[in-house]
Structures are given as C-alpha cells and as structure tokens.
Symmetry: D2
Subunit: 359 residues, 4 copies
Amino acid sequence: MVAVPSTSLLPTAIVGASGYTGAELLRLLLLHPRIEITSISAGRAAGRSLAEVYPQFRDRLSLPIESFDAKAVAAVAEVAFVALPHAQSAKVVDELRAEGLAVVDLSADFRLRDVAVYDEWYGADDATHPAPHRMAEAVYGLPELYRDEIANAKLVAAPGCYPTSVILAVAPLLKAGLVGPKGLIVDAKSGVSGAGRNPSQVAHFPEVGEGVRAYKVAGTHRHTPEMEQELAAICGRPVRLTFTPHLVPMSRGILSCVYSEATSADVSTQSLQTTLEDFYHDKPFVSVLGQDALPDTSFVRGSNRVHVAVRYDERAERVVSFAAIDNLCKGSSGQAIQCLNLMRGWDEELGLQAVATFP
Amino acid sequence: MVAVPSTSLLPTAIVGASGYTGAELLRLLLLHPRIEITSISAGRAAGRSLAEVYPQFRDRLSLPIESFDAKAVAAVAEVAFVALPHAQSAKVVDELRAEGLAVVDLSADFRLRDVAVYDEWYGADDATHPAPHRMAEAVYGLPELYRDEIANAKLVAAPGCYPTSVILAVAPLLKAGLVGPKGLIVDAKSGVSGAGRNPSQVAHFPEVGEGVRAYKVAGTHRHTPEMEQELAAICGRPVRLTFTPHLVPMSRGILSCVYSEATSADVSTQSLQTTLEDFYHDKPFVSVLGQDALPDTSFVRGSNRVHVAVRYDERAERVVSFAAIDNLCKGSSGQAIQCLNLMRGWDEELGLQAVATFP
Amino acid sequence: MVAVPSTSLLPTAIVGASGYTGAELLRLLLLHPRIEITSISAGRAAGRSLAEVYPQFRDRLSLPIESFDAKAVAAVAEVAFVALPHAQSAKVVDELRAEGLAVVDLSADFRLRDVAVYDEWYGADDATHPAPHRMAEAVYGLPELYRDEIANAKLVAAPGCYPTSVILAVAPLLKAGLVGPKGLIVDAKSGVSGAGRNPSQVAHFPEVGEGVRAYKVAGTHRHTPEMEQELAAICGRPVRLTFTPHLVPMSRGILSCVYSEATSADVSTQSLQTTLEDFYHDKPFVSVLGQDALPDTSFVRGSNRVHVAVRYDERAERVVSFAAIDNLCKGSSGQAIQCLNLMRGWDEELGLQAVATFP
Amino acid sequence: MVAVPSTSLLPTAIVGASGYTGAELLRLLLLHPRIEITSISAGRAAGRSLAEVYPQFRDRLSLPIESFDAKAVAAVAEVAFVALPHAQSAKVVDELRAEGLAVVDLSADFRLRDVAVYDEWYGADDATHPAPHRMAEAVYGLPELYRDEIANAKLVAAPGCYPTSVILAVAPLLKAGLVGPKGLIVDAKSGVSGAGRNPSQVAHFPEVGEGVRAYKVAGTHRHTPEMEQELAAICGRPVRLTFTPHLVPMSRGILSCVYSEATSADVSTQSLQTTLEDFYHDKPFVSVLGQDALPDTSFVRGSNRVHVAVRYDERAERVVSFAAIDNLCKGSSGQAIQCLNLMRGWDEELGLQAVATFP
C-alpha cells in the first residue's frame, strides 16, 4: 500500500527520451506522484510520436518528441533528466544549468572528478571534456554514499550501472577495513539492454541469445576509473582493480561478484555480514541477504532494489561479495529519480516502491 | 504522474499467495493506494516467510504466510482474492462468501455458467463442482464486457489468460456482425509462467528454453468452453472454435491470433478498424493499434494493458485479429484488481497505471 | 554409426558465405564425406578471414573469403551453393551456369515458376527478374515432392524455410483429397536467425528477446505465393491461403500449424494419420509423430529432420497439422545439400545424418 | 570434408542413457564411424522407447532402453560409457570392469585420487566410496594433459564440466611458471543443462529464464577439489582456489574466467599468449584466440572444441584467462568419446569433427 499526499507537481523534462534509459525514466516518472512530465526531447526520434518509438506508452503519454532547445525546456520545466551519450550530454547539461534548471545527468560526463582521467578514458582523438567548468558542482549520485551532498546539489551525475553494483557490493567492507583495496577483482554479468537501443552485431539476437562472453576486459572498460575513484574515496587509498564485464542473454540486470582480501585473521562470516547489515540498515533500497541466500537479478528486475550478500571463503581465505541490480533502474534511471527525490527533500522512495516484476 | 487521494484502506486477503498469480497480486496490491494487505495464506508454503518463498518481497512485505482459515481471514479482511487451483478454490470461495467477504476468484471454478460443462472439462473421475450453489452469484470478470455487472457483484470469476486475449481480439467484431461465429480459429502463444511455479519437465529450462511447441490442441484445452461461452453470448449463436495453444520461451505474455470469416462483402479494413476503436474508446486498458503496427507482448509486459489490432486479408477473404496481454497481469491478477476497483466504485485504473517494463 | 566409403571428393564452392545460411552450409559440408570445399566468396566480408567472421571455424577451415568471380570459381569447383539475397543471386547463378557448374540456389530467385508472380512479390520499383531465361531449367528443391526431377537437374532452387514446413505439414493430406484447398490458414512461428545476420531493430536482443509478435500478416509475406504455387500443384486447384508468420525468442526453428477443412465426413484421425505415414514412409528425413506427441522445434534443432503430426478437431470439424524444422538446416542449407546428394546420385542422407542438438 | 575408412565396428554400451549426458553420447556416437551402439540402459526410463524419452532419436535409433545388467551388457558390448549419478556409477563401473569391459565413466566417482577427499565432498551421511579398489586403475580423462595415460587405460574418469574449462584456461600458464598457484580465483558461468534433466525449481524456466545468479560459492561446489587436484599436479604445489559458479539463461555452455597472479615482472601479454599457443599447438580441439578476440560459448556450442584466451591486465598486474566449452560435449560426453578414441588408438578427433551449431 502506498499513501501519497499529492500537492503541486514538479514540471520535469527528459532529454534523450529515445534510448532505453530515457524510456525507463518515462516509465518510472509516470508513476511518480510529485512529477509532471512537461517536455520530451531526443535526437533522431524528434518529430515522431512516442507511441511509435515506444509502443508501451500508447494511450498513456502523448507529448510530442521535440528537438532539444535549452530555452524551450526552461520555459516549461524546473528540472531535467539528461539521458544522452557522453560528450553530447555535457554540452546539454551546461546549457540547462545556465538556464537555472536542476539537472540529473545519466551520462558519464560528470561522474569523474578529475578531468584528465575523463579525457583519458572518454576522449576521442583530441577531444576533451565539453564543460569542465561544471565538474566542480556535480555530485556523484549514489545516495547510499552521498545522501547529504545529493540533497544539496543542483547537478547530480547518476553513476554507471556496473559501478553502482560494484560499489554497493564492497564499499561497506572497505570502509570498515575488513577488506583491503589491494587485489580487488570484479567479475560482472550484464543483460543486453546495457548495449543500448541501436542495433549492433554484439546485441543481435542470434549472436547473443544463447551464449555468454566477456568483453572489454583487463582494464579497458570505461567504468573502471569510476569504480576506482569511488572505492578509493571510501578507503582513503588508491585502488587498481581488475574488471571483467560479461554479456548474458537476458534483457535487464547486472550481477557483480567482487573478490577481495581480508585485512586480518579476525575477519569472519559474521563480521562481514554484520558490517553490511549495519551499513545498509537505513538505506531503503538495499536488502542484505543472509547466509542462506544469494542475489539473483530476477528478484530486482524492473525495480530500484539492490540485493547484496557476502561470503567468507575460509578454505581460500578470501571474501566474496555480490550485488544484483536492474541496470536500467537502480543502475540508471531509478537511481536518477532517487537522487531527485533527495534533491527535492521528498521521501527517498517516492515513486520507486515497486518490487521486481517476477517472474 | 499519478495523483491519488488516500483515505481509508481496504483490508484485503490473498489466499494462494505462493503461486505466480498470488505473487503478482502482491506485487500489484503493494502499489494500490486504497488497499492494505492484511492476510496471506497458502498451502505448502504456510509457515515460511514471504521473503524466502519470493525474495523480491524482502524488506517490502513481512506478513507471515498462514494456513487458510476462513474465520481468521474474515476477522482481518473485507475482501479476498483467491488464487488456488480449480476445485480447491470453489470450496474456499464458498467459505469466504459465507463469512460475508467479497471475493475475486482467479480459478476456473466460477467462470462457466453451466455446471455440466464445468464437470465435463474440469471434473476428475466422478468429481463434480464443489460449490454449484455459488455459480449463480458469480459474474464473469471481464470488465470490457461486464463492467456494470462486476460493479454490483460480490463474487467475480476472473477470466482465464487465453480467453481474456481471445475475447478482446474478436468480440467487438462478432458483436458488430462483421464476422461470424462459424469457422473461428484461435492460434495462441504463451509464456512459460502460465504453467505455474511447480517444476515440471514441460517448463524445465533446457526442454523449453530454445524451442516452440503446441500442446493440448484440437479441442482439448480447458479454456476452450470458456471462450465459446463468452463469444456465443456476444453474438447470440453457438460457437465451436479450434484452439491451438503454444508454449514460447519467454516468462510472460500471451499473443492470440484469431482467424474469422467476414459476414459480407462490405467488410473492409476500415470498418474492422473503426469497430474496434469504437468499442474500446471508453475501455481504459485497451489500445487499438493502427494499420501500421501489430501487437507484441513485449510492450504490455508487466502491465494491465492490452494491445489489439485487426487486418483484412483481401487475397484470402479472411479477417485476422490479434491481442497481446501479460498473462499474469491483464490475464489474471491485474484483471482481478481491475474488477475489485469496479466492485468498490473506485477508478477502474487505480493502482494499475503502470506501462510495460520494456525492454 | 555411419559407415561411409570415401573415394574422390567433389570440389564445391560456397557463394555468399558470410550469411547464416552460408555458415550453415560450411558447417554441414565439413562433415560431408564426398565434398571438398574449394572456394568461399562473399560480398562485404571478402578479404577477411573466416575465423574472424565466424569464430566457430577457427582451426577448422582456413580458406580465404574472396570476392565472387565466376571464372575463378569455375576453375576450382564443379558445383556451387549460392546463398545470396534475391536478385543478386539470379545474376550469380546465371554466370555459374554459363560456366557449366551445377548450382543449388538458396535464394527466392528460382522458386517461382511464373516470372510475373516473381516480379510482383520481389520486384522493387521497376526491377524485374535478372535472369528469367534460367527459370525453366530450375527445379523446386523439395525432395519429398520432387526427388526425381532434382536428381536430373543442373539448377535447383532450395525452398524457403516457411514453405518447406508448411508444404510438408499439409501436402500429403491435400494430395490424398482428405482436405481441400479452400480456407487454408497457416500460422507459423520462427526463430530470429530467419532475419539474417545484419543487425536490425527487429532482431535486437532487448527488443525481441522476451516477447512474441506477428509480422507481415494478411497476405504480405513473400513466401505466400511460393506456398500457394506448390500446394496448388499438389491438389490441382488454385490456392489462396492466409499466412501469419511470428517471431519467437529462439535462434533456430520453425513450427508451422496448418488449419484445413476436411473434404468429407469420412475423414478421421486414423485416415489422416495413415495418409501421412504412407506418404512419408520412404522419405528418410521426415518422422510422423503419433497421436501421443506433437512437434517441437527443440527436437530437430541443428538437424535436417522434420517432425510432422496431424489432429482432427472433432468438435470444430477441422484438421490441424504441424511441422517442425530447423529453418537454417532443413529449411535452407541442409535441404540444399540433400538436393545435391540427389543430383549426384548419392545417398539422400549423406552427411546429413545428425540428430538434433538437444538440449 | 571427413574421410573415414570404415572397417569393423566396436560394440558399445551406454549406461544411464536417459540423462542429458547420456543423450549427448547417443547423438555423438551415431556419427562415429567406428562405433555401433549395442546396448542402452537406464533407471526409471527402462522399458520406454528412446523416441518417447528423447524425440530427437525417432526413426534414427530404435534400441530398447533396458534395466542395467552387467552380464547382459558384457554379452553385447566391449566398451561402456557410464553416465549415472555419482555413487551409483562406481558400483556399475566395478561390475563392468569385472566383466572385462573398458569403461569411460562420466560421473565424479573416479576423478579424485584420494578416497578421503572423495568421501569428504561426495559422501552423504556415513556413505563412503562404493568401489575404492578401482580408484588406482582410473585415469583422469583430460586428453590435453594425460593423452598417453588415457591411451593405456581401461578405466577413464571423464572430468567434470567446470574443471575441464578451468584447467584448460590456466594449466599451461601454471606449468610454465608464468603464474603461481596462490590467489587463484575462478568465476564460471554455466548453461542450465548442467542441472540435469530432473525438473527442479532452480531450472524452472520462469525462475531462471531471465536472470543470472551465483550458487554454491565460497568453497562449497563439489568441483572445487577436482580443480585443485589437477592444478596442483601441474604446478607441483598445493592449490586452494576460490570458485564461484553461476547459472546463465542458456541451455549449453560454460565460460570460465580464471584470475591469477604473475610470478615475475617479466610476464607479458606476449609470453602468456605464446605459452598457450605452444602448449596447445598439438591439441586438436583447442583453439587459442589472439589478442583481438575473446571466447564465447556460442562458438563452441554442440562441438567438442575449446576456445581459450589470455590477457595481462597491466594496470592491476593480474593475469586473466578464459575458456569456453560446451558443458555437455567437451565438458562431458564429447570428451568421453575423445578418451575412447585414444584408448582404441584411433584418431583423437574421430567422430568429433563437428564445429559449433551457430547461430
């Protein structure tokens, strides 16, 4: 049961509505009791009807898809979600901020604090960050770590899908000093929606539908520096981790498995379990599973929830922790709305109470 | 955006919470602004925690799963959803009605108006209907056909998943006399959740995960008389149809394709299209697609929405109509809640406004 | 156990090796005891290594992929399989025939006997058939109907995937006069590999991976005239059928369900069953299932086998017959090799004895 | 092209034909030019026809499924494949060996050299190994490591599916001393057929079809000691590894990712790559991918092939190696036949030349 006092509605814009994260924003915001979607824009899809681009919205939302224009958006919206590819996003964010809108950006453009690191990982040829002067005002939008900062921010950078799951799986253990930053290994499995909506051989059904593979391994995936930045911030020491993302034949979901080394012989299953439970007891979207269960993306699918668990492998003296999320929801659009809730002083869970659609 | 005035909450029981339709009821009712779930019962799962049986509810709903007891349910609930296997259900419904509860039954027990037909299709050995005296008070819970009757009912029989999709695909055309009851053929494709949660070879992943097959063909599937009953009622003449259900490797969704014969040479694409649009213009969950689109279960997945379409095959002089639904939602639990909304005089869409979770 | 006397090998070319049917030809021919692949050509993939284009051939076949040149092919091969898109194919076939090669063409270019029908369905703008003078020498490559003609042919047009399954499901019944050509309805379900290897939104995993939909319905799919041509030839009367293809989330397989009307009251389950069994008793790849089983694409996957079954729906007085095939094997490349076996006077099953890869 | 001189056929028995590995043996042996299947036995399936249990064999193999009797098997077969659950298997193997048959056992019963380790991991309650006196004569059936020993064996224990992939991914690097045994981590992803054919909630389509999860983590999976035994033998030092198996929504395939630590600063991408290539240059089923490709189970599906690759993560100073296999083929039945080929002095690849069925 959900009891929501409805008062005035916040006029809200979606920029980049034609991608999967844009569609997920629309899906979730249609259920949000304090939001009114007043502007939808996109690139190539501009001029088409939403029902044509995404038939699930037929007879549910009939706003036209427009080309982006910052002043036009500012005329009808107070806040904007920007769901554009990196580099494109920074420019749009800069314009919207200049118009005074609060912005949640779902791209990678404002996640990294160091512009040199951004340019190294995201710069093509000689390209550099399009709006480096905005980086200082951006807050990393992981509410489980930065709830207060997000509440006071005007520009929030929603985290990447892989980093969200990885950080939530291991940050409390690092913070408590139970495991160390050395030797961290992340083995993650993602659904295919992470590849976006543009057709490609990598996401062509007959190529990906009945197999599993790794990609961008050994320090080549762009989410690597983002994870390292946040885990380093948590433990106060530099982090170099090995990250191996995999593609799994399902549409949604990420399961991350993080291998770490205990810092002392005192580390036990019990201390690990308690540390997670203590850290997450006031984080409404995170469930810490017990020693009798393990996370499964099926049970968070379509929801903003996170299932985490930890095990101590006594034979090998190693800690293994897990997090399952929906990459499009808690890994992207749901988390962006969670951030907006904090920015507005609303209940963190507002509009995001749905449990997984299972089966 | 959803603006819901919250006042008092209706105490509600779920009987049969451990099956997929039970879980879907819980998922949807947790988002319903006028419902409070006060009782959950099940058979073998009684005594276990809900989070153990369905991990998606962890930290979201913590009611214990109890063994069914009509008086105990009546002590805490005013209405009950019964999601039990046929025959078991009728007995429970009878007890709950005797206690004065309004009931929405999701089983087949009160869908058929003729007890002899029920006994023929559902009776095992010499078994007969366990509560035939309740049949007269039951209303067939398809709001698009029986909105007023449902609004006045105390016992509603939620339709079967296949019949929901089939009736919605062709009833308006039959009613308008554009197509006749003779020669009706239904070819339907269902996701595997229709087989329920009990493991079986038929739903074992390696057996069903990468193939398609028909089952219970040529007049042997139990949903056949239900479709015939309702289509006959619509057109005022007896109906004998050929029904071929198929199992498709997806969890949710039914796509039904109905082949029918035009009653006159005047039937055209335009008249068929207009007839559907006219019939459904005041039915909030049904979208009539145009001649440029066809239903896809992906776009109704997880929602109570229905996508219908019709084509006239001029070469073969035949009408083909389609409906796509989510078998667990509009085909079962969502529709049951839609019925309750009508029974209570609430907005028909209350708590059911979600669009599909796509992708 | 397979006992094969190996003598001299037939030098064989594959034109169009980079598509899925090309790759399937390579897979099957590598296991054929009388074939040596001596030439591989393709369009855009020319110049790349086969292992790069199709990693499954790494260390198994190292021929370079060349641009097509008829004289170069003729210098090293006696027969050619052509697996190109329609229109492109006819031109290549014409050149290869002019060089004296025997050809099995997997495109649609030589399946239709009437060039006007071809131009109507396949002609774009003012385009017409590129090699109409070759049509007379082409034989329709369905060995279960045209074994002798194929044995004497120099140009065989391998049937389409849908027509193969549809014709095999109903031709014996039409031929025996148990069912008539009037009112034929075909409802077919295909795996996604039928869409080819070029990425497209229609075959993008997140769009197609967890749903089912119909496409090109009501007399708009190009396989319609091919089915009608062959079924008309079988029963000696014109055929107009309604054809509804569907896309199912699996890589391979087609299941066709054919609805037909019995021609007399004498038609029974037994007569239908016997008719199928009699017709197929000397067709080595076709299994007629009994009344206790129904075809499932899982059980023919990766093989050249066909599972057919028939039911009489007594309630609705209608005949329902089924065929399951692998669209890339019996529906395309396997059947092409079966034709070559006949053209060479070899055992029809040579190199094609594999059963399905199940699960 | 496959040129096979056919002479006399080896009469062969399959014990445990009703499981997936039994069916895979039948599928592969039907294509083997030197084998004649003369006996099929199973437990509960005894008395049923093979076509009923596995429809893919309809009209291809018509031997009756019998109850197991060692003397009856010995009367018609010289060799036997035993594909029974552990503990059951050892007893049957013992009887068949007493009758003089050569045996390839696909269970875990003869894989571990130390009976105490077997009893610790496989013993239920007080149960101990049923035939410890046979352990000494068993050879571990991984031809890439033990080709000569297998060639001289009368009892071969075919390795587990996970160990096959893991050992092949890292053994050459351990053997060459490029990586050390300390800190080994294995993260593996398996298709659902690994769960066997008995229906269970864990393999029920709606539960597993659209998600991913880990299971039996942190030193609890029974394949752990088998991997440790073989890797220790390779490098001459004890091995304790962390093993995390995952279940992925596909029928077949295992992808293992092995994380290891370089033993010196001299280790480079080039030395790792060369070491793999050198080790596998005379192993016909293993392909070493270059630095431009990564293994994908899709490209080994249905085949006995193995795709391995290695990367050096310079940033994190860690080695990551991969192997993709088909769990039922190279991970079980195909490898068992590969062993038999060696035991008989036949070409190692005989009957196993098929490439993957892709897509």
